[in-house]
Every structure is written in structure tokens, then in C-alpha cells.
């Protein structure tokens, strides 16, 4: 990976074909593409079988489980899984399985549980990427929101039997086709080799590069993981291995470079709170 020490992230950089960075499609050969395509199609088939099975018969649901298992194995078989990444892939698989369970579940309670599984697993993935603060915040927000929504589900749907709209789905086959097309498109566009514009460093936001003095960021330099000090700037090779995982760095960036964004987000939250209170009021008491 080549880092270009140029300062035009937000500038109008002229498009220069010689400047393009080539992204090699190293292991994404034909076999892999076919396998991923198969996995995706099988996953969609699994979804279809499951949602039919939930309504119609248990055998279809069991077939769905089987197909999903095949799809998962097919997908994982061609992902280079060194031992460090096993947990990551487990989280990924769990997230996908939870999402699938969420969208096929017949009962709202089960759906909410599936959703929680998916989100928590996604948080695990984030955690594995050393985005500790984001992972924690996501757990807090989504868990809180999930719990509240779960309560709403229970409150609204105090049902002795299922409502039809909990069970019946709107055109699941068409939705599966659209989703499949989307996933294939995404996979294709990320997996194929190609050229991207080279990385650009925005020196006007130094704190977002905290801990990377070699790139012109961080003043004063902060001791970070790996004990790289400002006195000994990182070589490009070290920087390539460097992971900006420090929560302190994130906080410094947030409250310095992105202070305006944070303030605006807070304002939006306040407005949303007020709006939610107004919206949820009873119409009879407050005609406005």
C-alpha cells in the first residue's frame, strides 16, 4: 500500500491516469468468484425456503437451514482464514445468520432477538477492527433502542395469536432477487481488480491523523500503541502496519477537527427529542 504525502483530499485534484493506484485482484480468481456467487445465490435460496417454511411446513424450513449451512461453508471455504481471523469470520457469520433469522421470524419477539444477534455480532466485528469506542457506542445505543422497541412490540402486540401482518410477507421472491442483485453487485465491485485514486492525506485536519507524525499529523504527538514517539517518526513500512485504534485519538479528533459536526449532531438529537415528544402526544389533548 502506497501512501502519497499530498495535501489535496478536499481539493480539486486533476485526474491523472499515471497517478492511479492499482488494486490487485490477488486471490479473487474465477474459482473464488464462482464460489461467492454460489454462496450468495444459495443464501437467497435459503432465505426463500425459510420464509416459506415458517408459514407452510417445517420440512421447507429444515431445507432452508441446510441450504444456509452449505452457503456459509461455501463462502468461508474460499476466504483465507488464518487463525487470527477465525473469530472475525465467526462474528460475521453470526451477524448474517441473525439478520436472516430476523427477517424470516414469524413472531415479533423472535425477530427482535434475531435483530439483536445481528447487531451485537456486527459490533463484535467492529471490535475486532479495534474500533472500540464505536463498537461500545453501538452496543449501548442499539441495545437500548432494541430493548425499547422490544418493549413496544410487547406492548402493542399483546396478542394471544399472531396477526396476519406478522406472518405474511410482501413479495419475498422479488425482494430476494433484488437483494441478491445488490450483493452480487457489491461483491463484484469490491472483489474485482481495478484502479483507485491514491490515498490523500488531509493535513488541515491533523488530529484525525493523530499518532501518525510521519504523515504530518498529530501535534503534539501522542504516544500510541507500539511506542512510536514523535522523536522517532514511523517509517512508511511501520505506518502501513499501524492501526489507529486509540480511543483517545478518536476523542481528540472528534472534539477538535470535527467539533462542528459533533455540535450539529447534538442539536439534531435535541430537535429529534422534542419532535418525538410532540409527535407522540395524544391528538385529543393537543389538537396541534
Amino acid at each position: 500500500m502506497q501512501l502519497m504525502n499530498e495535501a489535496w483530499l478536499f481539493g480539486q485534484a486533476p485526474f491523472d491516469p499515471g497517478n492511479l493506484m492499482r488494486v490487485p485482484g490477488t486471490h479473487f480468481d474465477g474459482t473464488f468468484s464462482t464460489a461467492m456467487l454460489g454462496a450468495i445465490v444459495l443464501g437467497a435460496t435459503a432465505y426463500w425456503l425459510l420464509q416459506r417454511g415458517v408459514v407452510k411446513s417445517k420440512s421447507m424450513a429444515i431445507a432452508g437451514y441446510v441450504v444456509f449451512g452449505i452457503a456459509a461453508m461455501l463462502g468461508l471455504a474460499y476466504v483465507p482464514a488464518n487463525m487470527e481471523d477465525v473469530i472475525l469470520y465467526c462474528f460475521s457469520l453470526l451477524a448474517i445468520a441473525g439478520g436472516l433469522a430476523f427477517i424470516v421470524a414469524r413472531e415479533p419477539v423472535h425477530a427482535a432477538l434475531g435483530f439483536a444477534t445481528a447487531v451485537l455480532s456486527a459490533c463484535g466485528v467492529l471490535f475486532m477492527q479495534q474500533a472500540y469506542f464505536v463498537a461500545a457506542a453501538t452496543i449501548i445505543v442499539y441495545a437500548g433502542a432494541t430493548i425499547i422497541i422490544f418493549l413496544f412490540v410487547l406492548m402493542f402486540a399483546q396478542q394471544t395469536h399472531l396477526k396476519p401482518y406478522d406472518v405474511l410477507l410482501t413479495r419475498p421472491a422479488l425482494a430476494a432477487i433484488i437483494g441478491t442483485a445488490l450483493v452480487i453487485t457489491i461483491t463484484w465491485s469490491v472483489a474485482e481488480e481495478g484502479e483507485i485514486l491514491p490515498l490523500k492525506i488531509d493535513v488541515s485536519r491533523p488530529n484525525s491523523l493523530a499518532g501518525q507524525p510521519a504523515l504530518g499529523g498529530g501535534d503534539p504527538p501522542v504516544p500510541i500503541l507500539g511506542a512510536v514517539s514523535s522523536e522517532s517518526p514511523m517509517s512508511p513500512e511501520e505506518a502501513a502496519r499501524f492501526v489507529p485504534s486509540k480511543t483517545a485519538g478518536l476523542g481528540r479528533a472528534m472534539y477538535t477537527d470535527y467539533l462542528m459536526a459533533v455540535e450539529l449532531a447534538g442539536t439534531v438529537l435535541l430537535v429529534a427529542t422534542v419532535g418525538a415528544i410532540v409527535l407522540a402526544q395524544k391528538q385529543g389533548r393537543n389538537p396541534t
Binding site: 490477488t26 460475521s92 439478520g99 430476523f102 425499547i148 399472531l162 401482518y165 457489491i186 459536526a261 449532531a265
Partner: protein, 163 residues
């Protein structure tokens, strides 16, 4: 962090996003549609974190935090809307809301109540105590019950003060 990991994470984010999309398209309960939206947002968060990792700066994480903030706002407003909508028609079905349809457009299909398959089974709890309707409280026992200390916490203090 290799670009291959990034690519895998991007695929994961895309799959999560697609699952949320499919859920949003197919589910008819408004709350579950809302949860589908949240799933899509979590897919986007994965995406952002992957790029943050790839680019070795905090911009992606900060964007993910912004997504979280907006998602919280959205959750608040969506729930408020769901509450007020539920008050109108006492249903969570989105198909129930088609007042803005054109005259010639097909009506919402009648929802079959019998959806086949196994009826959901709910846990049956053993009934405890007496049914107050079939077993009304005898008037002779009225004063006895009122003086009972187990009837309510506040009653206990009142009773003791009266005594």
C-alpha cells in the same frame, strides 16, 4: 490490515445492508420495518469502520458515530410516529395506510386470516387465585379483607394509623 480483509468486511457490510433491505421490503409490521432500517445502518457502520482501518485515520469512525447519532434520532421519531399511527387504527400493518392511493390503483389485498401451518403455541400458566367475576367477594368477608394486612402496602399504613 490488508486490503483483502477490507474487501471481506465490505462484503459483510453489503450483505448486512441487503438483509436489511429485504427485511424492509418484505416485512409488514412497522416496528420490524424500522428494525430493518437499523440493520441497514449497521451494515453501513461496518463499511465505514473498514475504510477507517484501511486509511488509518479516524474519519471513518467519526462518520460511524454520526450515523449512530442520526440513527438514534431516527429511532425516536420513528417510534413516535408508530405510536401515533397505532392510535389511529390499532394496527401495525403498513398496508392499512393507503389513503393517498389513486382511485384506479388496486386496493390492498384482503389479508387471509388463516395462514396455515402450525398455530403458535404460547406457554400456559397454571391459574392462581380465584376469578373475581365467577367468584365475587362475599359481603360478609368485606371487612375482613379490608383489615387484612396483605391487601396493599399503603393500606397497611392507613389501617395501622386508624387503629
Amino acid at each position: 490490515m490488508s486490503i483483502i480483509d477490507t474487501q471481506n468486511l465490505l462484503i459483510l457490510g453489503g450483505v448486512l445492508f441487503a438483509i436489511g433491505l429485504v427485511g424492509f421490503l418484505t416485512r409488514r409490521s412497522m416496528i420490524l420495518m424500522f428494525l430493518s432500517l437499523e440493520t441497514m445502518l449497521s451494515g453501513v457502520s461496518v463499511n465505514l469502520i473498514a475504510f477507517s482501518k484501511l486509511h488509518m485515520n479516524y474519519q471513518g469512525q467519526i462518520l460511524a458515530i454520526m450515523v449512530l447519532a442520526i440513527a438514534a434520532c431516527e429511532a425516536a421519531l420513528a417510534l413516535a410516529l408508530i405510536v401515533s399511527l397505532y392510535r389511529r387504527k390499532a394496527t401495525l400493518d403498513v398496508e392499512a395506510w393507503d389513503e393517498l392511493s389513486e382511485v384506479v390503483s388496486p386496493k390492498a389485498p384482503d389479508i387471509p386470516v388463516d395462514f396455515g401451518g402450525a398455530e403458535p403455541s404460547f406457554p400456559k400458566l397454571t391459574p392462581a387465585g380465584l376469578d373475581p367475576i365467577s367468584n365475587p367477594v362475599p359481603s360478609t368477608l368485606d371487612t375482613v379483607i379490608k383489615n387484612q394486612s396483605w391487601s396493599a402496602g399503603s393500606n397497611t399504613s392507613e389501617a395501622s394509623s386508624r387503629a
